[in-house]
Amino acid sequence: MQSTTSRRLASLAAFAALACSAVPAFAGKTLDAVKQRGTLNCGVTNGVAGFSAPDSQGNWSGLDVDTCRAVAAAVLGDPKKVNFVPLNAQQRFAALQAGEIDMLARNTTWTLSRDASLGLEFTTITYYDGQGFLVPKKLKVTSAKQLKGAEICTQSGTTNEKNVSDYFRAQNIKVKTVVFENFEASFKAFFSGRCQVFTTDASTLAGLRNKEAKNPDDYVILPDLISKEPFAPVVRRGDDEWFTIVKWVPHALIEAEELGVTQAGVDAAKSGSQDPAVQRLLGSSEDMGKLLGLDKDWAYRAVKAVGNYGEVFERNVGPKSVLQLPRGLNNLWNKGGLVYALPVR
């Protein structure tokens, strides 16, 4: 656990860096810097199962981690050339503003105020989530509307904290929030029994229940989702070329799923597919990469590195993961979900 003082120093340092760096930002600066450095600095969470968490060997995995890897594969030709920078909720935007990271892929909700006031730009939605509640089964609660008088643990500086207050105010239900600066402290307090309710995004609740609870069956996630939480990678404003790249890599992964191109089948598809859409995506006909300032194999390498969007989902948060989350809103648009690739053409 990082000390408060060092965190405060870190944010001060970020401002100092911000204050001392020169203003002009021309298009392509980030891409050049990443290529010259040879690694992509990617901001991630400091440990949320399914999205980004390191294992005991220090290998990161998760949906957000795969977004970083896909971008590194497209830009640098190697998904391993990522330097994962773990950031807490309070640090994430300052780190991006100050240039410590090239992109942020950290289950961060796209909101108007963040989009318009932080000097940052959200690229494309990679996960549709909603905020939920975790409660001990023994309380026999079946709906958020029964939580009058309950104490709710959550993390400060998140949309979650504000959503809780909005939701219960609108319902005219009085609850008490206990807000921790550190995500780990907030869920530890809940599992120790300090709070009767824990709230965060539903996907994270599933991970916590499976990983942190002594007996996962003692806890239930209430069916109420009280907010929309679209997660999207974020870049700095003012570098349109880099923004476009980080926007299109996830679209390429979604397009690959729509076209049925998998990690295992991508080589065969590249050399053998007669489908013009597949040929365009994988660079065996037109060169779409050139328009992005990359080469024509950019999308091929991204899919080869992490698989298509469906595979990324399945491996990290879906049926093949500990979270076991249903595809739901994150299914393809033509299968009942909201995920829709902009045409790669």
């Binding site: 000390s3 408060t4 944010s11 001060l12 970020a14 401002f15 911000l18 204050a19 760096s21 203003v23 930002a25 909720a89 309070q90 935007f93 300052a94 503003q97 105020s113 963040r114 318009a116 006031s117 932080l118 000097g119 023994k138 309380l139 029964q146 939580l147 009058k148 008088g149 309950a150 104490e151 643990c153 400060s156 500086g157 998140t158 904290e161 504000k162 809780v164 207050s165 909005d166 105010r169 008490k176 929030t177 206990v178 807000v179 921790f180 600066e181 550190n182 402290a185 907030s186 307090a189 120790s192 029994g193 300090r194 009767q196 700095r236 404003r237 003012g238």
Partner: protein, 331 residues
């Protein structure tokens, strides 16, 4: 100032003023440049957000606050919560510290060793570690809120904290008219006054930790009283307690005011560690505001200004006190 004529004094004042002006100009230039960079990057800046609704709740405190109220009121509630923790903690630190300081010089071996061990243990473990240990102890060991234990009628103890009956003031009255009694609800105990585990942890961690430092200062103060004073007191026929109360402490305690002031200042600033256990004090509120507005520069500036003001007030107040109690001729 001795040895200098009016001309030398004038020159030294001019130099001081020039230095201050230079410093202020430097700070202003840095701030202006920072704002220019922020604007150049499309980052919103300014203090206008202080008038907008905060949108988050503050879990506990004396100032009634809800999400529809503006940010400045949230900061005020945070400041009041800082004082709500720091003042009782300072009281614990001063009383316990003085007793421990005296105890470290006690003739009785057991008393002396206990006090020495206390000081060494508390002084050498980081405050954050002690705070977290205390907090986890409270939230692990106390019974769940659904199984709260009743200590006395109307006094409940659980992981939600210590709930007590509390006087309430009816609308339009100045004086409290009745008591509000804590009651058992579906999840926990509500009503009355609640001392949450977060609050108890920060008050006791700060108080117990700072007491160790105060104890050392008190001990040094007592030891600085010339041995002749003790001999004189004994010659007057005073017993050990009387020697301490009438002769030694009045001299020792005056000496230590500046050093103890530093400890109180440190205590107030250390209260910012409370964010680690979820107690909503000034820094916690500023962090939340920072995140919901993105105005990092401004929120940190507010925090710095408030702590600076608090420190200057405390230092000023104790300096006045010190000037009054200090022994003439010792200055």
């Amino acid at each position: 100032m001795k040895g200098r004529g009016p001309r030398g004094a004038w020159r030294s004042w001019a130099l001081q003023i020039a230095l201050v002006a230079l410093l202020l100009a430097g700070v202003a230039a840095l701030a202006a440049h920072a704002l220019e960079v922020l604007r150049g990057r499309g980052i919103q800046s300014g203090f206008d957000f202080l008038l907008q609704p905060a949108g988050f709740e503050i879990g506990e405190g004396w100032l009634d606050f809800h999400a529809g109220q503006p940010f400045w009121r949230a900061f005020l509630a945070g400041l009041i919560n800082t004082l709500r923790a720091a003042v009782p903690a300072a009281a614990i630190a001063l009383v316990l510290g003085t007793l421990l300081g005296i105890g470290r010089l006690a003739p009785h071996l057991l008393v002396r060793s206990i006090c020495t061990w206390y000081v060494e243990a508390l002084r050498n473990v980081p405050l954050l570690v002690q705070l977290l240990m205390l907090y986890f102890a409270l939230t692990q060991l106390l019974p769940d809120a659904t199984e709260a234990v009743q200590l006395l009628p109307g006094v409940w103890l659980s992981k939600s904290g210590l709930s007590l009956p509390w006087p309430v003031t009816a609308e339009g009255h100045w004086l409290p008219s009745s008591f509000e009694w804590p009651e058992r609800t579906a999840f926990n105990i509500s009503g009355g006054a609640a001392l949450t585990p977060e609050y108890l942890a920060i008050v006791f961690a700060l108080g117990l930790y700072t007491a160790a430092f105060v104890a050392e200062i008190v001990r040094a103060g007592i030891q600085s009283v010339p041995a002749g004073q003790v001999d004189a007191a004994r010659a007057m026929g005073f017993g050990p307690a009387q020697q301490l109360r009438i002769v030694v402490l009045p001299q020792a305690l005056r000496l230590i005011v500046p050093a103890v002031t530093n400890q109180v200042l440190a205590l107030v600033k250390n209260s910012s560690l409370a964010v680690a256990v979820g107690y909503p004090e000034l820094v916690s509120v500023a962090n939340t505001s920072l995140n919901s507005t993105g105005r990092a520069f401004e929120c940190i500036a507010v925090v710095m200004a408030v702590y600076l003001l608090l420190s200057l007030l405390i230092a000023g107040g104790t300096n006045l006190y010190n000037a009054r109690v200090a022994l003439r001729g010792w200055r």
